[in-house]
């Protein structure tokens, strides 16, 4: 059996084989290039207070920052007023004014759990009861760019890959500068370690021969997989340098913006398909309002930075943004002025092909969810209404990304009934 056929068989069988090397190399013989779309997943880590953002409640003492009459609107979007209530970041007013027309908001999302880890897992993968499902970001990266060097970059939060591809962690730009030229002393182009260029090329040739010799042998799956991933990783290493020109001259101060900066440079360079961005500190069991007024503006500023940066790099029309959290916060305050975990929340999307200026779903005055008709996406308290859950969103995301029928997606089915699919979500 040809090795390629063998690999195909294994892929069809749903086994964790790394992408065969050499099938989609670029002109340099290095990692592949992706033309987009690119996916940015913003995670509000800890559980956001949606009543302080896109699902305002001015009644029942749900939110003490404002009253019903203070609630602001921008087209169909209703949001909590936050201008002047924080020191750093972006107000809701500014955010919705700037992006409301691009933004699809879904309120009344049923997280189905009140716990951080399961909630993160569920929101990231669409599967609550599995520890092996990949995140959407990993799945789309593997499906759309398995030979792209930094296909899936994560800066935190649930980042399972389903054994489909390696995860990349990049914590600062300085490291990239050093690693962008790994065959040169301290990343200095004038100081190649092996002095003469032909030496490095000859080493690479020997490694290729050695890799092929290993590949020709029957191996245990784990060894075969790791050899393939190792070879790809080293081959792809030099492509890191492609990313460096797209790192801006001035580095943003905020952590979330720094993450976005690296991810977008990777997108622009075509070496990255998706990125998991993370901002923590949302878990406001004490002093909820003060904490949410720190982190929500910081989150929005990070999103704003990402969009602006994408615009500057000329790829805004290729960047898909998902803004989510693993849970909401209670519609009441505890004795410490905090809010505890609540299993109802919201999610927001922006990107090419996503019709913005829309708000779907809702919660009532007690911040309990209202059912939605999956066909019309209108509120439907009758028998046709369903709770929108993460699996509904993930099925829709897979459809949106064009990967719902991909062999890799088929390995991690969401088992959603056809009648529950949100076919008109986008």
């Amino acid at each position: 059996m040809e090795r390629r056929d063998f690999l195909k068989l294994c892929a069809l069988a749903g086994l964790g084989i790394a992408a065969p090397i050499g099938l989609t190399r670029n002109a340099y013989g290095e990692g592949g290039i992706t033309e987009g779309p690119y996916y940015l997943v913003f995670n509000a880590d800890g559980g956001w207070d949606t009543s302080s953002l896109m699902d305002p409640k001015g009644v029942n003492d749900i939110n003490r920052l404002y009253r019903e009459g203070d609630i602001r609107t921008e087209g169909p979007h209703r949001f909590a007023p936050t201008a002047g209530r924080f020191e750093r970041g972006m107000s809701n007013e500014a955010f919705f004014a700037k992006y409301g027309r691009d933004l699809l908001t879904l309120n009344g999302l049923d997280y189905s759990t009140n716990n951080h880890d399961p909630g993160k897992r569920y929101m990231a993968t669409g599967k609550l009861d599995s520890l092996v499902y990949p995140t959407f970001a990993a799945l789309v990266a593997a499906s759309k760019g398995s030979d792209v060097p930094l296909a899936f970059v994560s800066f935190g939060n649930y980042s399972a890959t389903g054994n489909l591809l390696p995860l990349s962690r990049i914590s600062n730009i300085g490291q990239l500068s050093l690693l962008g030229l790994p065959d040169h002393h301290r990343g200095n182009v004038s100081n190649p370690y092996h002095e003469e260029d032909f030496v490095q090329r000859r080493i690479q040739q020997a490694l290729k021969e050695e890799h092929e010799a290993q590949g020709a042998r029957a191996q245990l799956p784990r060894v075969e997989r790791s050899q393939s991933m190792l070879y790809a990783a080293q081959l792809n290493a030099t492509t890191l340098s492609r990313l460096l020109p797209y790192i801006g001259d001035e580095q943003p101060e905020e952590a979330l913006s720094r993450q976005a900066n690296i991810a977008l440079a990777g997108f622009k360079a075509g070496v990255c398909v998706s990125a998991n961005l993370n901002i923590s500190r949302f878990d406001s069991h004490d002093d909820n309002d003060s904490i949410q007024m720190q982190v929500i503006p910081e989150l929005l500023a990070g999103i704003d930075y990402a969009v602006e940066r994408a615009e500057a790099l000329g790829i805004r029309d290729k960047v898909v943004i998902v803004i989510q959290s693993e849970m909401g916060r209670t519609p009441w305050y505890n004795e410490n002025g905090g809010k505890d975990h609540w299993s109802i929340g919201s999610v927001m999307f922006m990107g090419p092909g996503i019709r913005g200026n829309r708000v779907l779903g809702a919660t009532d005055d007690g911040q309990k969810l209202l059912k939605v008709n999956p066909d019309t996406l209108a509120l439907d308290a009758g028998a046709g209404g369903i709770h929108i859950r993460p699996e509904h969103l993930h099925q829709a995301l897979r459809t949106y990304a064009g990967i719902e029928d991909h062999a890799l997606a088929a390995r991690f089915p969401l088992n959603l009934a056809a009648a529950e699919r949100l076919n008109t979500l986008w």
Binding site: S171, N191, A206
Partner: protein, 794 residues
């Protein structure tokens, strides 16, 4: 049920019948007497002798028989009902410690009862045979799982799903033992589990172990020992290895991956509370920074040093949960204000890294001396890790969390159970939260976890949110399940030592030894043990479950040895190290059937070295390290910081590949010239050759080059190759080509005849003559080898 659905069930069923038992041939190496040789396939002849030791005592290979459309009911129950429905769904509640403990269906689990399957099958049969009133006489089993008859857990198996169809088939078979349908699934000739799997050589195993656990290459004596004694000598070698300091470094590092106490988010000395230790916890204040830094280092490491102490002294590892002491060093003893009491017990009271056991007196106000802790013994009621301040500070609490994080962490670390893994999808959890006065004690969706989580949480009631010991002024919460453990309430007179009470129960729990084996497995294999497959619709479910059960059987057997050895953790390392799971290295031919591939998918001890392990390996082989690896690059290379980043990466990304390239270039940058600058007797790598030996020299020169390549392959990669091995030929060609082209460039004036001064700093060898380009040729050879799988993976 339509014909298609029936066929689906039966296809799966036939696969199960064919794949069947998980019991064969897995554990030969766990018993010295029948350990296979290094090239043995671990199945084969061992299959029969090991059958009973295999999975769960339910099925033996002999019982499989030929392809059978209608296997016995017990097989159907085990592989279909239990594996695909009951274990993933019903066990969450229907166990003695679960919220459904008072119902008619109380199941038993594998770890607590070897005969669990027979018991559970009988319970299911009884339920299946009962018609239910008001539901057309439908089996009570089917009505209950779909939410009828006031099933406390609501609808857990929906009609029309695969799981429901399995139950339908089970009900039909209970009613009619002849019930059966044909199948169209192509047969799978199930081999014995380790069939065609070849083991790494004993010498390669030895090298893997000495590098992994001892941070060094094997000694000549150890090589000879294994040469003489084969696999049987490995345990003897390990006995010596596990007395070396490097082993304890690895042990602590490995256990920190599990307990993560190094990730406490604060100055180390603050694990000692202000109230009890304010007078002494900052004792190095005003001293040189190095003293304070060392103090912080050692006090943070105390829980890991406790583990090292238990293992070093070969004490029962149950002390992980029960030790009635902590360990203190001369520095940390000052923090606890007990130095004067213990200083004479240290071998060297000036050594901040020497740890000895010590029982703290019950806690008092560090200034006034007021007794703040009730203790009939006068001592702090230590219970291993459970009562260390490091643990409670690493896993802090909030007023609403009420110690549940601590509780779940105890379940994970000591009993291998993450209660949040099994959390069910709740139908509108928010509505549930408001529907009940006290959801955590009343709402079935909540009770499923809280009934187990909250009692243990209550045992930590005397530790405040940050982790200090402080008895709550108003007592513990009354709107939670009362303090206790797994269905047993904490006796009132044990409250002052609640965590000791817990530790005693953990030590006696059958899950404890299994969990400890799983921890050592993670340390050795670099990954966690398999979890049971969950997708019952997958065509590979049965193959994956077989892999899971075979591994489970091995874990359980090692756990049994661990218990027999009085919980000596070193026995677990030894048993796992010689198991075929660790030694599996290759397969004799291509794996054609995807089901076979799925069975073997996780097999083998191959793992990407962690940054720390790679650093030590560089030191062991080259006598030097690449410093940025444990500084700037640790996280980027897949390491952890024990707080925000707690999971190691197991496969390299492009950025990790870049680090590998940097290391492979940098570590050898001046290595060859340094080596050749040394007297022959001091060289590590080039003791037999000089730079003057060239490929275009004599036949003896070429032979010497080949021999040097063989030696390098052995030292760097652990390969024992012959002079005419293709890999030696490939390496020789690399050296030859580099040297030949280099010489041509020198002759043409396009390359220098000296090595660049870029590497080597101020060393005298930094810029030596290299007229034949051979120094640079050897450098290329070493870079080539370092970048290979055999170097970067264990």
């Amino acid at each position: 049920m339509d014909a298609f659905a029936r066929n689906g069930i039966l296809r799966t069923f036939l696969l199960v019948a064919l794949i069947g038992a998980c019991t064969e041939g897995t554990l030969g190496a766990l018993d010295d007497s029948d350990a296979p040789s290094s090239r043995d396939t671990a199945g084969g002849g061992d299959a029969a002798t090991n059958a009973d030791a295999g999975a769960d005592g339910a099925t033996s290979p002999d019982a499989l028989g030929p392809i059978d459309d209608c296997p016995p009911l017990e097989r159907f129950f085990e592989n279909e009902v239990w594996a695909k429905v009951a274990e993933p769904t019903c066990v969450n509640c229907h166990i003695a410690a679960g919220p459904a403990a008072n119902t008619a269906l109380v199941l038993r689990t594998r770890v607590l009862d070897p005969d669990y399957l027979a018991h559970n099958q009988a319970a299911f049969e009884a339920l299946a045979a009962q018609p239910s009133e008001g539901h057309g006489g439908l089996s009570r089993l089917l009505v209950k799982v779909s939410g009828g008859l006031e099933h406390g857990g609501g609808a857990v198996v929906a009609p029309g799903t695969r799981a429901y169809e399995i139950l339908e088939s089970f009900v039909a078979r209970v009613a009619d033992p002849e019930h059966c349908d044909p199948t169209t699934e192509p047969p799978y000739e199930q081999p014995e589990f380790f069939d065609a799997v070849t083991m790494i050589s004993d010498q390669r195993l030895l090298r893997r172990l000495t590098l992994s656990l001892g941070a060094r290459l094997p000694s000549a004596e150890e090589i000879a020992q294994v040469e003489l004694g084969g696999l049987g000598a490995i345990e003897t070698v390990l006995d010596g290895l596990m007395k070396e300091q490097a082993f304890f470094t690895r042990l602590k590092e490995g256990f920190n991956d599990i307990i993560l106490t190094e990730g406490y988010d604060g100055p180390s000395e603050l694990v000692l509370s202000w109230e009890h230790f304010r007078a002494t916890r900052g004792w190095p204040a005003g001293m040189p920074y190095e003293v304070f830094a060392t103090y912080r280092d050692v006090i943070r490491s105390e829980p890991l040093e406790l583990i090292a102490h238990i293992v070093r002294e070969e004490r029962p590892f149950t002390e992980f949960a029960t030790a009635d002491y902590i360990v203190v060093s001369p520095y940390t003893a000052r923090g606890y204000n007990v130095f004067d009491q213990v200083k004479d017990s240290f071998d060297d009271p000036q050594d901040p890294y020497e740890f000895i056991p010590f029982r703290l007196p019950s806690l008092t106000d560090s200034i006034t001396g007021e007794v703040l802790q009730e203790s009939p013994t006068g001592f702090y009621p230590h219970a291993g890790l459970l009562t260390t301040f490091h643990f409670t500070h690493r896993y802090p609490n909030t007023d609403t969390n009420r110690n549940r994080l601590r509780s779940n962490t105890v379940f994970q670390i000591f009993l291998g159970t993450n209660l949040l893994d099994a959390i069910p999808a709740v139908s509108d959890a928010a509505a549930t939260s408001t529907q009940f006065d006290n959801p955590t004690m009343q709402a079935p969706d909540c009770v499923v976890c809280h009934k187990r989580l909250d009692p243990l949480a209550g045992l930590y009631q005397d530790y405040n949110n940050v982790g200090d010991f402080r008895v709550p002024r108003d007592g513990w919460y009354t709107d939670m399940f009362v303090p206790g453990f797994d269905g047993e309430d904490l006796p009132t007179d044990e409250k002052w030592r609640a965590l000791q009470w817990l530790g005693e129960r953990i030590a006696g729990d059958p899950r404890f030894p299994i969990t400890m084996v799983e921890h050592v497995y993670q340390i050795l294999f670099g990954r966690k043990v398999l979890v049971a497959p969950q997708d019952v619709n997958s065509a590979l479910f049965d193959a994956q479950r077989r892999a899971y059960l075979v591994q489970r059987a091995m874990i359980e057997q090692v756990a049994a040895r661990f218990v027999t050895a009085n919980y000596n953790l070193k026995d677990v390392f030894k048993a796992l190290a010689v198991s075929p799971f660790y030694r599996a290295g290759a397969i004799e031919g291509p794996i054609v059937d995807p089901r076979r591939r799925a069975e073997l998918d996780d097999l083998g001890g191959s793992k990407l070295l962690t940054p720390e392990q790679l650093d030590r390996q560089l030191k062991a082989i080259f006598g030097r390290t690449f410093r940025p690896l444990l500084m700037d690059f640790t996280i980027l290379y897949g390491g952890i910081n024990s707080s925000q980043i707690t999971a190691r990466l197991s496969e390299p990304s492009g950025s990790m590949g870049a680090i590998q390239r940097v290391i492979a270039n940098d570590i050898v940058c001046d290595l060859a010239q340094e080596e050749f600058n040394k007297p022959v007797e001091l060289r590590l790598l080039f003791a037999k050759i000089e730079p003057s030996v060239r490929p275009d020299g004599s036949a003896a020169d070429r032979a010497l080059i080949r021999q040097t390549i063989v030696d390098l392959q052995q030292r760097l990669l652990g390969r024992n190759l012959s002079l005419d091995d293709p890999e030696v030929e490939r390496t020789y060609a690399l050296f030859d080509d580099v040297v030949t082209e280099g010489q041509r460039l020198i002759a043409a004036g396009e390359a220098h005849d000296r090595v660049s001064y870029m590497c080597g700093g101020q060393q005298p060898y930094r810029n030596p003559a290299d007229p034949h380009f051979t120094i640079r040729g050897w450098r290329a050879v070493m870079t080539y080898m370092i970048r290979q799988h055999d170097f970067l993976y264990q």
